[in-house]
């Protein structure tokens, strides 16, 4: 029997648990030249802000050991053009559209979510409380009371499920996770990038104009797995795992640690068709291990 890859988060049905991560797939237009986006469980858009942003000056990416640093600085077209051009482009695909929302202050998260409330193609919103390259987001990411309030305010204006994306750059991620859960978050995305730095020894300068950037890629996978498991033990709501996923083995690991879905990010830069290969690999793994559904894997970690 063909194993069932479908999952459900807060009433939203996904054909499979593989999503593309925010900031690594634009608004889907480029990836649509690589594979049919309908094959994805979901697509999480680039962070949307109230006004368009150009982002930080180059260089804003750097290769590091088994990873990369980025400080793009939330470059995006702004909510108006996003709704007009980008969201309409996604109309024709049969995949869950999660719109990632970022703001300089709480009111901006609310303003954007309110606009998206009237766009049925925005199946869910993901609140970027954790962009390490923009200070405002980080304040909410670090402060449980603010995080709870922010989720609550967005929930009041957005009628569909809300995901809070958590930062690993905090002393206790479980505390923030519980706060978002109390605020009414329907799911959590764990984790965003880790703050890092790369240095050029000839110029004595950091390799990014922003000085620091967000570390992603396989280098952060062990951190991400630990955080997913920690959050899994702290909350009841579903967890979407993110951090250095390159292949289906990584996905199984995230599921065992407590994820019910995953996002592939930096892996897309290496292999833009990685999600397709992952879906095929995951199906084979489930089949050969006699699992009838991918859902059976979530949280099955046997700890010592």
């Amino acid at each position: 029997m063909r194993p069932d890859l479908s999952i459900e988060i807060a009433g939203v049905k996904f054909s499979n648990p593989i999503l593309t991560a925010s900031g690594t797939c634009g608004y889907g237009e480029e990836l649509a030249e690589v594979f049919n986006l309908s094959r994805l469980g979901g697509i999480v858009t680039k962070s949307i802000t109230v006004l368009p942003r150009e982002g930080h000056p180059p260089p804003r990416t750097a290769e590091t050991e088994a990873g990369m640093l980025n400080a793009i600085g939330l470059a995006n077209v702004g909510v108006d053009r996003f709704i007009e051009d980008k969201l309409t482009f996604l109309e024709k695909y049969n995949t869950v559209v999660v719109v990632n929302v970022a703001g300089a202050k709480l009111s901006e998260y609310v303003e954007i979510s309110k606009r998206l409330a009237d766009c049925p193609r925005a199946d869910m919103v993901e609140l970027n409380f954790s962009c390490p390259n923009v200070e405002a987001g980080m304040e909410i990411a670090r402060d449980p009371e603010l995080a709870e309030k922010a989720v609550g305010e967005v929930k009041k204006v957005f009628p569909r499920p809300v995901i809070a994306k958590l930062s690993p750059n905090v002393s206790d991620i479980a505390l923030i996770a519980r706060a978002c859960e109390s605020g009414g978050a329907d799911a959590l995305a764990v984790i965003n990038t880790l703050v890092g730095m790369a240095v050029n020894i000839e110029t004595f300068r950091p390799r990014l104009t922003n000085n620091t950037g967000g570390l992603s890629g396989p280098a952060i996978k062990p951190v991400a797995l630990a955080k997913v498991n920690q959050v899994y033990n702290a909350v009841k709501i579903p967890i979407i795992g993110i951090g250095g996923i390159m292949n289906w083995v990584d996905v199984v690991e995230f599921f065992l640690c407590g994820a019910c879905a995953v996002q592939v990010g930096t892996g897309l830069f290496v292999e833009p068709d990685a999600p397709i290969k992952i879906i095929e690999g995951l199906r084979k793994y489930l089949s050969s291990n006699k699992f009838s559904s991918v859902r059976e894997l979530t949280g099955k970690l046997r700890k010592y």
Binding site: T24, C25, E33, R60
Partner: protein, 263 residues
């Protein structure tokens, strides 16, 4: 909508060109139908701790034999590893990517200005123009380097039968000086009959850009930047546009009209 493909190919020929420059001839490119001069391929590195692919302009493409060639110079960790690969080694090659050059009017005299490792795309452009019926006497290939050894594979350009003007900073071969000086020394740019193409180090591109703008010379420049993704999704390889905002070199480029990008 053009589909982006990944080809699993082998190195069928490797040749050292000296000074850390190498040619790889790779095959079979079974899904790639045609390639425009100025387009590039994005090659996955032979070690997983190097995450980013490396971008290389296409040097030559033989559709009948399904072979594609690149030239690269050992620069960092990725190209050092690539230089150690031997004939028969497998490579994961994505492409062709990028926009490629636009072709000029046949009435124009074409000036191709290459600096060092910027040579390959302009070689393919010259070859393509010839196959499209352009007059070889009106294709002028200016090839500059710091010294003679930097003018890699120049014999292949000469074999095209076009006019080749070598130049070196140290005078060890051809004209002594920069490519821009070699151009102004050999060509009367005031008659409005020329079209410029350039590829090379950023300093040279900037000089070409200034030259073209000051002489009202139409043309295109092929730019380079480290490209994490190569398909426009990471927003890493950006450069500022003169008109404001940024452009993605891998997606909107790598070829731009002179004056378009703030160099």
């Amino acid at each position: 909508m053009s589909k982006i493909v990944v080809e699993n190919v082998k190195i069928i020929k490797k040749k050292s060109l000296g000074r850390g420059n190498f040619i790889f001839e790779m095959a079979p490119f079974s899904k790639t139908k045609s390639i425009k001069p100025g387009q590039f391929v994005h090659i996955r590195q032979p070690r997983t701790n190097l995450l980013f692919r490396r971008a290389f302009s296409v040097y030559d493409f033989d559709a009948a034999n399904r072979t594609l060639s690149i030239i690269f110079k050992v620069f960092g960790r990725g190209t050092s590893l690539m230089a150690k690969l031997e004939r028969g080694a497998a490579l994961d090659v994505m492409g062709p990517l990028g926009n490629g050059f636009k072709y000029p009017s046949k009435r124009k005299t074409v000036i191709l200005a290459a600096g060092g490792i910027g040579m390959p795309p302009l070689y393919l452009l010259a070859k393509t123009l010839l196959s499209r019926g352009y007059d070889p006497d009106r294709i002028l290939y200016f090839y500059g380097g710091s010294s003679k050894a930097d003018l890699v594979d120049i014999s292949r350009i000469k074999k095209l039968g076009i006019r080749v003007y070598p130049s070196t900073d140290d005078g060890s071969y051809g004209f002594k000086g920069f490519v821009t000086d070699a151009i102004t020394d050999n060509v009367d740019l005031t008659n409005g009959k020329h079209h410029l193409y350039g590829c090379g180090p950023e300093g040279m591109l900037k000089a070409l850009d200034e030259l073209a703008l000051s002489k009202n010379l139409p043309g295109q420049l092929s730019l380079e930047a480290p490209m994490p993704c190569g398909i426009g999704i990471c927003l890493g390889c950006i450069k500022p546009l003169r008109a404001g905002g940024y452009t993605r070199i891998c997606r909107e480029g790598p070829v731009y009209d002179v004056g378009e990008v703030l160099l």
